[in-house]
Subunit: 652 residues, 2 copies
């Protein structure tokens, strides 16, 4: 019989030693949740630390990420090699596996980067959805695991956390369990300063299985974890805890959260808890208990390997989990480009065409949409994943965009599926914190947005992005695509599905885009920008445009040609990819003639491609409410205006 | 006795006529909520359409903003001159008061811009807090009004809406009432596609007074509104409604939301509802009932004017509600600059100094903080506004940043107070949708952010902004300040408090900033950028920097001086203000020498101030976890590196 209390105390002292050694850190969580964590690992978790990437492992998320030493202590004690003593002793230092907040390193058992509050549990919902979908696809022999999330009160105050609670209950994600740290202490002091709601009642209202218990009572925690596994609903263990428990000076106090520890605190904790081991030392019997616990955790591992080796779908399962594309992917890409509509068509609908085709050609795609099925049209070839039917590849996420973004991260981090996130571009602001996390974690989520400009029309300026493109172009490791037509839309999908470490955003139009009149034999969007056919030889002016405005530039070129002015039109679907091209190609495309930049958005950032004295045709303020064509004229984003600016640059 | 049913039907037909005339619009809300709205206006609302800006009017918010014709019909029937028949007949057209979604025009009775779901009810929480604070300050004789918010299911799915529910219950905002439109229909179809939670139970868990009723039963609505007014808790009227009620073809259907209306729909509705008036025609008895209702609504108006005329605090009340600064404001500004710390000090602490001083000098400031009292230090001279004590000027908003941003908007829109929003800059991504609304509405909220760069240190990249400055510089009508020291911090506050139509963001440091060594006699930040003392005459190179990096530029100047290189240092606390200066001043400051831009952030956008061939010292990717000084060295943001780049530009 393992001594779970000592296992818990081992967590406590590793956390204390790690924080003391670093001179900073948050002791509140690891000391307050030690019994909960130890009981989970001792008797319930499924994991194989020797094979951290085992696809059927349980996923553990530390949503209260400031308590990172809880996770690091756990992973060290559980035997993850990458969380060595050296890693603990370099906590919060450059290059350490043990960063201030957990940062995704799955080979070390760190499943996801947490950080800003609330996102962890929202990612956990994505992980649980991924498990449900994969379980339905490949069966319980290959996929049958749980998602456990450590949660602080802050995560549950955040809106994204509330969205997570609501949708997880709706989808009856029975393999998802939140372990909440109800310590009544927040950074400002007592949680009563800012929250007085009945949290268990709130979860019950959302259809959760809720158990309230003492988070330091190991038997109670053990029973509650067992009950959680038996219940078909997602489970909340609402654990009443004492923050920083074991530190006589700080436990139950506001300072328990992260007040600097002193060596004397450790001495007092040793006396309080009957601990005599030295710094970073784990007594041998406790190590043995941890080893035994992890042996139990890996019980199923060998059987799984046998089942996997004999499974008919093994090759496809391995392909999905590895993230590799199907063998005939190049053919799929060519076909998508060849089939792209050549009549005027909204790029969001062209994107729907691709999404439809990929329902079969890339069945690991999982589409998430925020209550905009009809206007975004990405469900055609798919059916919904619901509480009753996990086989669908489309999730009705409701009007919960921030959650949907975090679920995208969670699904991508889980592995096995390619998440595609669909809503209007104005809501990219709601999703931004999660999209930033995708960029930071180097997860290849695809974020498809419709209604990308004043083209939205009369719904007005609240729904018309003018600065959102720039706001994402400013973000590291994010590709912003604004395709000009159906071919570029297909190309953006193709490139994004091939991406392994960079998320992408597609800014697509509600209104019809005109085809840019080239064939799709080669994916030209891979170069980020390219000169459109229709111009050869020397040029007097270069028109740089993106998205639906490329058609205006083409029209302006014709107007200018009538006057003998030779204009080249450059379509720039993805600045980031263009930036990666060799300088000679960039110079060739940009040319040396004066330039007019054209985009129905703010100029901010365009200076990268325009020299002083060049012109820009776009927005200078928020939009307005009227029909699309009226707005384009009102804001002066027209072929005539482009031609006029070009003439101006040439002094004509 | 007024005929409320006919008043409701008048709303219905005005909405139908407005939508038919425009050829587009959302009929679901106005037809589904007509009885609720008519009963509110007939028997409960306090308003004086002849004086739309009456400070003690009830505030009405349409959070489900797509149903804007509900609000426009109401305002027209209630007698707001600006919502004329002509305005209704230009619905969704440029320049009309009746834009696609409500856009703030308080003289027309439109209290706030709604738009993206969830923000309206969050703004309403801000309005109710403003009322509570002003009521405590000036007493019920001057301030005693309610906030009513029409709410759709989408608003309650959004995280920001959930945050609003939680905090409103905690603060016991008894004068806040949500009128919810529970029609079971969402854009995708039945709400059961994406939500199955027990919404009334969720509100009860948060301490709300909840009544469930038939939203078409006028007597029930009337009784519930009366009970809501009597209860000390915020109230939810959970109204079961039929979407698009009155339109036989569409009522209760998914298409009820916004499917295009046909003339025949109107004919069928006339038959269904026994209505015979022509298009845009309101039968005289119904007009009379509306007039009588609004006479009741304005019952208190005359008394209030008398009380106001006789009130001792009248002058101060008028000053607060007009948004005017105190007469001695210029003196206050000088004093703040003169008292600014000249020793090294974190700019977030310098901001706290200003905030402390303004607790007395500008008592209409109301500070909102998201559970970061200690690290942001803006509570010193203030006490908390709580459920029991409304006299405080500091609100513990909990870990609910998006709500806090929207509350800032709501408080500013309410009038009478100057909201100041305080948290870490990383959370600006959570607040972004609300901050965008402040810019769009031209509301002067001040958003104070600490931890503005890799200076955050070992909490790591999740908490280290690198692209957030650029993302707000891209936004229209927003001022981004990044002060270099205590004087610039005081200046940024001074400028922001003087602003009437432009919100501002202060990006402030956790780590000590060095003083830029000038006196504060003149507010130089008003120019947006200026040359620091310490250089005269010709220059070989110009170093442009912001925030804590200005000190590095000063240090680099000294290094370069040793080599005989003459460097000028330009501090650029606010690009937007610099952009507004006359070209001659800008040219003088920027000079013609080569330039090095310095900012611990991405280069994106800096091309505005740098020519090709100029250099930039800053970030090229996300940050990392280690101590501040280690990170600055690691990422090469040092005086040595700046000097090196300067030398490189000069070919030395």
């Amino acid at each position: 019989m393992t001594d779970i209390q000592s296992m818990a105390n081992a967590i406590r002292f590793l956390a204390i030693d790690t924080i003391l050694n670093a001179g900073e850190g948050h002791q509140g969580v690891p000391l307050g949740m030690a019994e909960i964590a130890a009981t989970l690992y001792a008797n319930h978790l499924k994991a194989a630390p020797a094979d951290p990437l085992w696809p059927d492992r349980d996923r553990v998320v530390l949503s209260n990420g400031h308590g990172s030493t809880l996770l690091y202590s756990l992973l060290h004690l559980a035997g993850y090699d990458a969380v060595s003593l050296d890693a603990l002793q370099t906590f919060r230092r450059l290059g350490s596996t043990c960063a201030g907040h957990p940062e995704i390193e799955q080979h070390a058992g760190i499943e996801i980067t947490t950080g800003l509050l609330g996102q962890g549990i929202a990612c956990a919902v994505g992980m649980a959805v991924a498990e449900a979908r994969l379980n339905a696809e490949f069966g319980g022999d290959l996929v049958d695991h749980r998602t456990w999330a450590f949660v602080g009160d802050g995560c549950l105050q955040e809106g994204v956390g509330q969205e997570a609670v609501s949708l997880a209950g709706h989808l009856r994600l029975g393999k998802l369990t939140f372990l909440s740290d109800d310590n009544h202490i927040t950074d400002d002091g007592d949680t009563m300063l800012s929250i007085s709601e009945d949290v268990p009642a709130r979860f019950r209202a959302a259809g959760w299985h809720v158990q309230e218990l003492d988070g330091h009572d190991i038997a109670a925690v053990d029973a509650a974890l067992a009950a959680a596994k038996d219940d078909p609903r997602p489970s909340l263990l609402a654990c009443r805890t004492t923050i920083a428990r074991g530190l006589p000076r700080l436990q139950g106090q506001r300072g328990g959260h992260s007040a600097p520890l002193k060596p004397q605190d450790r001495e007092e904790a040793c006396a309080e808890l009957g601990w005599s081991a030295g710094s970073f030392e784990v007594p041998e019997p406790v190590r043995a208990d941890w080893a035994q616990a992890m042996q139990r955790a890996a019980t199923d591992y060998g059987d799984w390997q046998s089942r996997h080796a004999a499974h008919d779908d093994r090759a496809e399962f391995d392909r999905w989990t590895s993230g590799a594309l199907p063998e005939d992917w190049a053919g799929t890409g060519s076909r998508l480009r060849a089939q792209a509509a050549l009549e005027p068509r909204a790029t969001i609908l062209s994107s729907g065409d691709v999404c439809d085709a990929l329902a079969e050609a890339l069945p690991e795609t999982l589409v998430l949409c925020a209550d905009l099925e009809a206007p975004t049209n990405h469900k055609r070839g798919r059916h919904a994943l619901t509480a009753q039917d996990r086989s669908g590849s489309y999730v009705h996420c409701g009007v919960r965009e921030h959650l949907m973004g975090a679920m995208t991260d969670g699904i991508a981090a889980h592995g096995g599926l390619r998440p595609v996130n669909v809503t209007y571009l104005a809501f990219a602001d709601y999703e931004r914190p999660a999209m930033r996390m995708a960029a930071l974690m180097e997860l290849p989520g695809l974020f498809v947005f419709s209604h990308d400009s004043i083209g939205v029309g009369s719904n007005g300026p609240t729904h018309q992005p003018v600065e959102i493109l720039a706001s994402y172009r400013a973000m590291p490791n994010f590709r912003v695509f604004r395709p000009a037509d159906a071919i570029e839309t297909a190309e953006a999908w193709e490139i994004s599905m091939e991406s392994r470490r960079t998320p992408a955003l597609l800014a697509l139009s509600k209104q019809d885009a005109l085809p840019v009149r080239r064939d799709g034999a080669e994916n030209l969007s891979r170069r980020g920008a390219y000169m459109l056919p229709g111009h050869e030889g020397a040029r007097d002016v270069t028109l740089l445009a993106t998205g639906t405005e490329v058609a205006l530039a083409v029209e302006a070129r014709a107007l200018l040609a009538e006057e003998g002015i030779r204009a080249a039109v450059v379509s720039m679907p993805c600045w980031e990819l263009f930036e990666e091209q060799d300088p000679a190609y960039r110079a060739e495309v940009l040319g040396t003639a004066p330039r007019v930049g054209v985009e129905a958005a703010m100029e901010f950032g365009w200076q990268r491609w325009l020299d002083r004295g060049d012109a820009f045709v776009g927005m200078t303020d928020f939009g307005a409410s009227d029909r699309t064509e009226v707005l384009y004229r009102h804001f002066g984003i027209t072929a005539e205006r482009i031609a006029e600016e070009a003439r101006g640059l040439l002094g004509r």
